[in-house]
């Protein structure tokens, strides 16, 4: 095949992050000729600067916390002397590198042609990259993702003022940090630094942490973080940040209107993510961004823009797409199947699980209590502390299960978990919500004993009127 011919493809995917590579792999598996253009490393944010490195570090943090628990509760005489940060990050980076090689191998094995260059749209079916022009017979998929949002006037220096990107590559952890932003990323980094021994202040402008989650989740999480010694300031505003030789002087006005000055070695800015579209040439293809910079689909069921054949996946999408890797993955599969001529099931956004890997963890799926009320449900809620089941007592870390349903019956609306290991427990509830099961459907399954998941089971038993201990 000549070079010229190869400049044509069935599908061109712009961006090789989770959304892009999953589109490419699935499209190739369905027999399409796929070109993937990535200016940096395939794997994108999630693999190189997001999910994977952060969860590797948080796993190490969990082990460090376990040493304290072993000592304090279980008579295990063990002393934590120090954390060799370069050794920790070497293991983390090795995991990232192995995953990266895995993605590269899958792409190559699937026959996806990967072009390492910056891509620019030149028309509704054409892309320029690395000095060449490519045309897409079936369609173009935009998967250029997102980057940390910055605050005006607060320029990261990679040392005292950092984003989640820089925090990864800093040579060590600071002994004090102020985390600005109580979303998932801010909460996770606050938790990580605390486990590693830092003094941590966590500042969130909304009146609670994880403001998109159920209020009970925020409450339990805040309590758990505070118990670990993190200073949580919700409803607080940063009014000034001034760097000096060894740190940053951050002025915060608290919810009560008090002004506080925090001197910390590092200020971690985690105030959200913004879509990446500069230089992408959206106009040439007849597209524009929305007010917040996202590229909105005209047809959410096909994730297709107003320009036929141009699709969007991942962090580039506006809400309700949640800016999560597995949502990007689901969107990628869907778009590939659409481009191959299929009619896949649309992404059911409320049924996409949301996890925060802090200590305690949070995990949820479906509607919050508030959202259920807003949608007109006659809401009934049942909750249970994890310590009400034996395994929860063994863990001794608190936590809770909350289920949202409608009093007049019908499917479970939402499940909200806080506590150890809930990241692995939410898959069950994802099926419950996704399959629109009712509490009684769940209640004739007795969960394995002794597990934390029994608490989930007990809440459903209670909602179904089969409970032993509680009544609704």
């Amino acid at each position: 095949m000549s070079a010229e011919e190869r400049d044509a493809a069935d599908v061109i995917v712009v961006g090789g992050g989770t959304g892009g590579y999953s589109t490419a792999l699935r499209a190739a598996a369905l027999g399409l000729d796929v070109l993937l253009v990535e200016r940096d490393l395939v794997g994108g944010t999630c693999l190189h600067r997001g999910c994977i490195p952060s969860k590797a570090m948080l796993h190490a943090a969990e082990l460090v916390d376990g040493i304290a628990e072993a000592r304090e509760r279980w008579g295990v005489k063990a002393a934590l002397e120090a954390v060799d940060w370069p050794a920790l990050t070497a293991t983390r980076d090795d995991i990232v590198a192995r995953n990266h090689r895995g993605v590269e191998a899958h792409l190559s094995h699937a026959g996806v042609r990967v072009v390492r260059a910056e891509a620019r749209l030149t028309g509704p079916r054409s892309v320029a990259a690395g000095g060449r022009a490519y045309t897409a017979a079936r369609g173009i998929v935009l998967a250029t993702g997102s980057r940390p949002r910055l605050l005006p006037g607060l320029v990261p220096d990679g040392r005292r003022v950092v984003t989640s990107d820089d925090a990864l590559f800093a040579p060590g952890l600071p002994d004090s940090v102020l985390v600005l932003g109580g979303g998932a990323i801010g909460v996770e980094y606050a938790s990580l630094h605390r486990s590693m021994g830092a003094r941590v202040v966590l500042v969130e402008a909304a009146d609670r942490l994880l403001p998109l989650e159920d209020a009970e989740v925020s409450r339990q999480l805040g309590r758990g973080l505070r118990r670990r010694g993190i200073e949580v300031l919700a409803g607080a505003r940063m009014t000034a940040a001034e760097t000096y030789q060894d740190g940053v002087r951050v002025t915060v006005v608290t919810a009560r209107g008090e002004t506080r000055v925090h001197e910390v070695a590092r200020l971690l800015v985690a105030v959200g993510r913004e879509p990446v579209t500069d230089g992408l040439g959206l106009e040439a293809a007849g597209l524009a961004t929305d007010a917040r910079g996202h590229v909105a689909p005209a047809d959410w069921a096909r994730l297709e823009t107003a320009v036929p054949g141009i699709h969007v996946v991942g962090d580039l999408l506006p809400p309700p797409s949640p800016g999560l890797a597995h949502a990007s993955f689901a969107e990628g599969l869907l778009v590939a199947e659409v481009l191959a001529g299929g009619s896949p099931r649309p992404v059911d956004y409320p049924a996409v699980p949301r996890v925060t890997y802090s200590s305690p963890q949070t995990a949820s799926v479906g509607l919050t209590e508030e959202q259920a009320r807003e949608r007109g449900h006659d809401v009934v809620v049942n909750s249970m502390p994890l310590t009400a089941v034996a395994k929860g007592m063994v863990h001794g870390q608190g936590g809770s299960v909350k289920v949202v349903a409608d009093r007049s019956g019908g499917p479970v609306l939402g499940v909200h978990l806080v506590g150890p290991h809930v990241s692995e427990m939410i898959a069950e509830s994802q099926l419950i919500v996704g399959w629109e099961a009712e509490p009684a459907d769940v209640a004739w399954h007795i969960h394995p004993h002794p597990t934390l998941s029994e608490a989930v089971g007990e809440v459903f038993l209670t909602l179904a009127g089969r409970g032993l201990h509680q009544s609704v």
Binding site: R345, G409, I432, G434, W435, E436, A437, E438, D441
Partner: protein, 58 residues
Amino acid sequence: APAPPAPVSAERPLAKPPVRKLAKDLGIDLATVVPTGPNGVVTREDIRAAAAPPATLP
């Protein structure tokens, strides 16, 4: 005039959640499906059978 439909049992038809979901996705009202499963449970086959003839659009 056609006889009024027989009164349907007030109880919700029985089916396991993935099957109910399948019925919903196919636009089939479970109450109209003849159950063949044990204890009057609507099975996946029942749904597929109900879906097989070209459904008259509402």
